[in-house]
Amino acid sequence: MTSTTGGRTAATTVNGVGTSPARPDGTRKVRGEFAYSSDLWHEDMLWGATLRSPYPHARVTGVDIAAAVAVPGVYAVLTHDDVPGLNRYGLEHPDQPVLADDVVRYRGEPVAVVAADHPETAQRAVKLIDVTYDVLDPVTDAEEAVRGDVAAVHPGGNVVRHAAIRRGEQASQADVVVTGRYEVGMQDQAFLGPESGLAVPDGSGGVDLYVATQWLHVDQQQIVAALGVSPEQVRLTLAGVGGAFGGREDLSMQIHASLLALYTGNPVKMVYNREESFYGHVHRHPATMYYEHGATRDGRLVYVTARIYLDGGAYASSTGAVVGNAATLGVGPYDVPNVRIDCWGTYTNNPPCGAMRGFGAVQAAFGYESQMDKLAAACGLSPTEVRRRNAMCEGTVMPTGQTVDSAAPVAELLDRLDAMPLPSGPSRDAGVADLRSLPGGVSNTTHGEGVVRGVGYAVGIKNICFSEGFDDYSTARVRLAAVGGEPAVTVQTAAAEVGQGLVTILQQIVRTELGVDQVTILPAGTSIGSAGSTSASRQSYMTGGAVRAAALKVRGALLSHAATTLSRTAAELHLDGGKLASAADGVLADLVDVLGEAEFDETVEWRHRPTEALDPETGQGNAHVQYGFAAHRAVVDVDVELGLVKVVSLDCVQDVGKALNPQAVVGQIQGGSAQGLGLALMEEIRTDGGVIRNPSFTDYLIPTVLDMPPMNIEVLELADPHAPYGLRGVGEPPTISSTPAIVAAIRAATGKELLRVPVRPDHLI
């Protein structure tokens, strides 16, 4: 951990901000006692199941449920006719049917739902529902969808959003020009805990839903609309979440289980299996990108022109915001005077795409970082030198016209990577090398012959928090009282802990601000105001900021109270380790004694500084709150005869502003880097005519412990003066740069151009 500025760190507190206490749910998780959304059980509980469209595009001409209803043990079979409210939902636009009515637009679209007394009974009933379809040609190519020479998937046409960025000269010329067409495959979040939850009817038309999600309140809004009830009648509580990575931002089983519960009067549990999970959530947008970079002979960028096509699939989900990110971050962390970017997000009949860690920035980074390597080669510069010469820094003006107003240590990240030791070279002595260290591993495909090594670098940029004028806030309630002779704090928010460790950090913040050790984070639910989404690397900033603000209000009220009790002024008092103290006289009283029967209870709605919408013509505007930066260096060994790749090391430097919990920060960097490795080498949802061909962990591969190399990690703490504790969002940046760094290393090893990720063996031989 490298601390390069003092920041605005509060005094070090035991288990406070800047330390790494154990997570409060850790013991229950290792004992198998933490209740995930698929673990829930209720007396008289039924099981829900979903009938999904077998076709990517078809008109529904009839649904006959008679045979399914007749199965013993079946309690309900519901279709779109049974949706009492709006039969549409969606994160940004309500364009997705709760249950298909006239048209299905993707393979896997829900058509009917069943409740039965056993999951197998429900599945058998699903198979007995007789749906007749008039099959239509699917639209499967995003560029064709934009050109408009295919059928419209939705009445308004196939462009969900077009974002244009225009900065500087629009017809620039340069001495050195490099171009490329790049593709990014469709990646899956592959969270391990399947979509699941339990809906419990309240007997008076309402429902309590226990579910794994990323944003309880936006779920609630959509459920309320579909059920046609009032908001108070739909109460959500966060169940244990088995990972998210964006894939839980859209609804899956929430409305279906609630419908079935209200219809049957029984609690209903729904749990997707892994195949259904591939159909049941949105994926990362596949991208096709055309880039042109112009530079001076010494490698200084003159202009960047780009056209980016993002395939949003059948429904809008968050495509609009993903387009905004890919466009505004489309030149990467570089200072470019002249920029022309067009980015489209489209409707097609491919699987719907939406949020996944990195959210538009991942796709663009593969394009612009591939281009930077091409430019380096064209100018005779090293990959790090060409990046240093163009590196943005504090004060750089983005292609949107926004000035970067806090640290942007792009050159420093590269310098630090360069200073890290490289792993020792590959053994070329056949028969000597440990197979486990070679491409192909114990498959015994090489003993070192045909293996070449390469080194590659990449840097990425990500906007932190919600952008483009969105009213982004979080709500927190902090309550301090004496409990059992000890001062104790409870914290209530609606923020989704999805594994990242927010619950730990909120405890740390309260300990730092109130000097109280015993801090309990209450279950998240809709009984308090929204915390916003657990996405955009924003919860430490936003809910951390809200809890800090509420804790400060509690502290203010407490010190006023204590000042009266102790005949002092509030200004001379401070809290430290469960005591009240003054600078002059040291400890004055135990906090628990001052508290007595008093209770301090404050709720705060907290916002980051406002952002602006982009100008629709020019893409100009102060659209983002904060930028995060990470850089990777990858070292790979490639068996050029078989096209197998072994990542030997994957080193990372990231600026996090302030590491609230250093252990958790490093965990985010390691985990995010692994997801980037997956995109570089193995992860792709393969579709054929809109149909997913690999909906299983047998055929959709994610990195195992054998695929992930050791990582050297350096964490910089360059405080952002606008953010709580100076922190910078951590979760997404490491996912962005690891993919292009690994591909750059493979290019260096093989000399192949590699215009597409994931890289496949046949790209290498």
């Binding site: 933490f34 995930y36 050791p710």
Partner: protein
């Protein structure tokens, strides 16, 4: 059918078990032991790893009837009362737990490794855990936890 088996040292019985149910389903939905996880239910992720007669197995791939009369030890049976097994303790302390959905399976797999090999090399740890997927951690802190548990024994 009726199923009799021993789970975490206790004799247990489940009635009206459908023949198509897996051991994982019986543990989770009939015996109140949801610690073993249902991440893929096709033997690819290792999140449901349990001991079946002292041998680690994916409970999702074991038909319920195959467990008749046998001894099952799940993640819920590793701690000694309030005292965590050293593997569990190390997972908590080393930051090897994020969302935790893979954790029960990894804890059982690591527990099994250390019973067989008290001082494993990194290569041996990687090989032993290669059947357990984790999506959050990138595995580095899981390796730290297994090394730490080995040295604590």
């Amino acid at each position: 059918m009726r199923l009799n088996l021993t789970v975490n040292g206790e004799r247990r019985r489940a009635d009206d078990v459908w023949e198509g149910e897996s051991l994982l389903y019986v543990l989770r939905e009939r015996l109140g032991l949801p610690g073993s996880k249902n991440a893929c239910e096709q033997g690819e992720c290792g999140s449901c790893t349990v001991y079946l007669d002292e041998v680690p197995a994916c409970a999702c791939l074991v038909a319920a009837g195959q467990a008749e009369g046998r001894e099952v030890r799940t993640v819920e049976g590793l701690a000694d009362g309030d005292t965590l097994d050293p593997v569990q303790q190390s997972f908590v302390e080393c930051g090897a737990v994020q969302c935790g959905f893979c954790t029960p399976g990894l804890v059982v797999a690591a527990h099994d490794l250390l019973r067989r090999e008290p001082d494993p090399s990194d290569e041996e740890i990687r090989e032993a855990l290669a059947g357990n997927l984790c999506r959050c951690t990138g595995y580095e802190k899981i390796l730290d936890a297994v090394r730490s548990a080995a040295s604590a024994r």
